[in-house]
């Protein structure tokens, strides 16, 4: 059992690039909280910063990599999983973490997401879902809730959104989880489990874009948005209720899928080894 009497000191300053601070995110942007949870999980797992590679895409989420004191790669829109696939295969010694957003991974990068889930390469993908394209000024995204106003849905959103976790699970992700930023400890735990998982892990973080999305839809300030996000979630730990499902229309949080299946990198290396000329390796 872990010694619970130790002081829980996680000093984020040891994991961020202080010369890049303050970061460029808007006031109250939940991405910062998610970043803390991620770095905290990394700290608790004892992952060396030199062995950590963070690959991000484009958008507000994509900018997070620049603040992490690690090997960081800010790649092209929607493609961080493709870059990370190459990097992780080339360097199995690195811990490769992908930071992406709802537009980055579900719209322009949707193909890469489903195939990363299918392949099961050892990567952790943290998707920050704030239901909006924030960087470009607030356009509708594949997760924007029904009827919400964005600059490209002036009469309210009429498109149904993705449930990213169900998508990932259906595509074969061997670890899927979701958490809200308000539950920072649970989020940190979830990310820790995801990072430990051998295979592709997908974690959706429900984040708030107060400045653009919140304002346009009268969702209140960041604390209010965070509280209401939490209220609309159904912690998956509660799923063993027998009577009626707990909050039937809410999205589930927690670990939503975890299966053991062969990790792609290992499988590929084993297959490659079989092709090596006899006597070599």
């Amino acid at each position: 059992m872990k010694d619970v009497t130790q002081t829980p000191d996680f000093d984020i300053n040891g994991y961020i690039r202080l010369d890049q601070m303050p970061h460029f995110l808007c006031p109250g942007c939940g991405h910062g909280i998610a970043l803390r949870a991620l770095l905290w999980a990394i700290h608790d797992l004892g992952i060396e910063k030199d062995k950590l590679a963070v690959v991000s895409g484009i958008g507000c989420s994509g900018r997070l990599s620049a603040y992490i004191d690690a090997n960081t790669f800010h790649t092209t829109h929607g493609r961080p999983l493709a870059f990370a696939t190459g990097l992780a295969l080339a360097r199995p010694d690195l811990h490769v973490v992908v930071i992406t957003g709802d537009g980055d991974s579900l719209a322009i990068g949707g193909n890469h997401l489903i195939h990363a889930c299918r392949r099961n390469l050892n990567l952790t993908c943290m998707m920050l879902n704030n239901e909006i394209y924030g960087m470009t000024g607030g356009q509708v995204s594949p997760t924007t809730s029904a009827d919400r106003f964005t600059t490209t849905t002036p009469a309210g959103n009429t498109e149904p959104g993705f449930d990213a976790c169900r998508l990932a699970e259906a595509a074969g992700a061997s670890f899927v989880g979701r958490e809200v930023t308000l539950q920072v400890l649970a989020l940190k735990d979830l990310l820790q489990r995801a990072l430990e998982h051998d295979g592709f892990s997908f974690v959706e973080v429900i984040s708030d874009c107060t400045e653009i999305y919140g304002r346009k839809n009268d969702l209140g300030a960041s604390p209010e948005m965070m509280m209401s996000q939490k209220a609309s979630m159904r912690p998956d730990a509660y799923r063993n209720t027998v009577d009626v499902p707990f909050r039937p229309n809410a999205l589930a949080t927690g670990i939503l899928a975890k299966v053991d299946r062969p990790e792609y990198g290992q499988a590929l290396r084993a297959a490659n080894a079989r092709q090596q000329p006899a006597g070599k390796g």
């Binding site: 872990k2 829980p8 920072v184 649970a186 509660y238 027998v242």
Partner: protein, 297 residues
């Protein structure tokens, strides 16, 4: 009629909203009713929506007056969640009581915390082994894991009922009959299997702790000093005045100053809980808790 027969049995079932505390207590109440007992069942589940604690008192016997169990009087405490079990452990009869807990943990950010300075602020810092030393009989089992292996997480409650059945006098078949009425028809087989597994697990000893209890019980809230002094450091240049710390500090001891920068307004109320530090998206707050040694030490 022996005295033991006359005294009502007290079973306290606790957990977190949505876990099925009510279902477990309904099974027990129905079973007692079937055996001709007078049954009182009282529950609080108003907190369920916030993921807070839910508890249910079940009392049965030839004649039961009070609907609630007094501290130190419970014959059995059944905890569907580890920390909730510890929260109620003082209700257990220290001489004769049986403590049954699932070692799964559900950690809400605000719950399970004594917010006052010097209070026990940890999420269940005690280990299952420590708890076993304090009780007459006890079982810390991985009911959720057992249920998962059987193929249905929801059967965790019947696993616990199986363990509970060893502490009460009802025949096994009667339990199974009642359970059959309370679970969805297509899950009856799995629930029966779950019940039997829980029962056999508990019959194998007087005190048992699941091997993986430690792994599942990983507390991350670890403030465990008796007394601390807290310093709240706010990096003004990084604060963007988002109001998150102000609104979400459980003690409301922060405020935004006239430059819209967070500051500690009511330092005396601060419990050092670190919520503001954890939730600040701009990493502008650093909390330092320094233990204060008791003069008596």
């Amino acid at each position: 009629m022996s005295e033991a027969m006359e005294r009502p049995k007290n079973v306290l079932i606790v957990g977190v909203g949505g876990q099925g505390v009510i279902m477990v207590s309904k099974v027990l109440a129905q079973l007692s009713l079937n055996h001709g007992h007078d049954v009182k069942q009282s529950e609080v589940h108003g907190m369920a929506k916030r993921g807070g604690g839910v508890f249910s008192h079940v009392r049965f016997g030839p004649e039961v007056w009070s609907p609630t169990i007094a501290e130190g009087e419970a014959d059995v405490v059944v905890a569907l969640e580890w920390a909730e079990g510890l929260r109620w452990i003082n209700y257990l009869n220290p001489e004769t009581g049986t403590f049954i807990a699932d070692c799964q943990r559900i950690v809400p950010p605000f719950a399970c915390r004594n917010r006052f300075r010097g209070g026990e602020a940890a999420y269940a810092p005690e280990t299952p082994e420590e708890i076993m030393e304090q009780v007459h009989a006890g079982y810390v089992l991985d009911a959720t894991g057992m249920a998962e292996r059987l193929g249905n997480l929801r059967a965790a409650n019947t696993v616990l009922l199986g363990a509970l059945s060893t502490a009460l006098d009802f025949p096994e078949d009667d339990w199974l009959e009642v359970i059959g009425h309370f679970v969805p028809p297509n899950t009856i087989d799995i629930n029966i299997a779950g019940f039997r597994e829980g029962r056999e697990w508990a019959l194998a000893g007087n005190k048992r702790v699941a091997e993986n209890a430690a792994g599942l019980h990983q507390s991350h809230v670890v403030i465990h000093q008796d007394r601390v002094t807290t310093t709240v450091e706010i990096t003004e240049e990084w604060c963007k005045g988002c109001d998150i710390c102000v609104k979400l500090c459980p003690e409301r001891c922060l405020r935004l100053n006239d430059r819209l920068v967070a500051e500690l307004a009511l330092p005396d109320l601060c419990t050092g809980c670190r919520m503001c530090e954890w939730l600040c998206p701009d990493f502008a707050i650093a909390i330092t808790n320094t233990p204060v040694r008791e003069a008596a030490e």
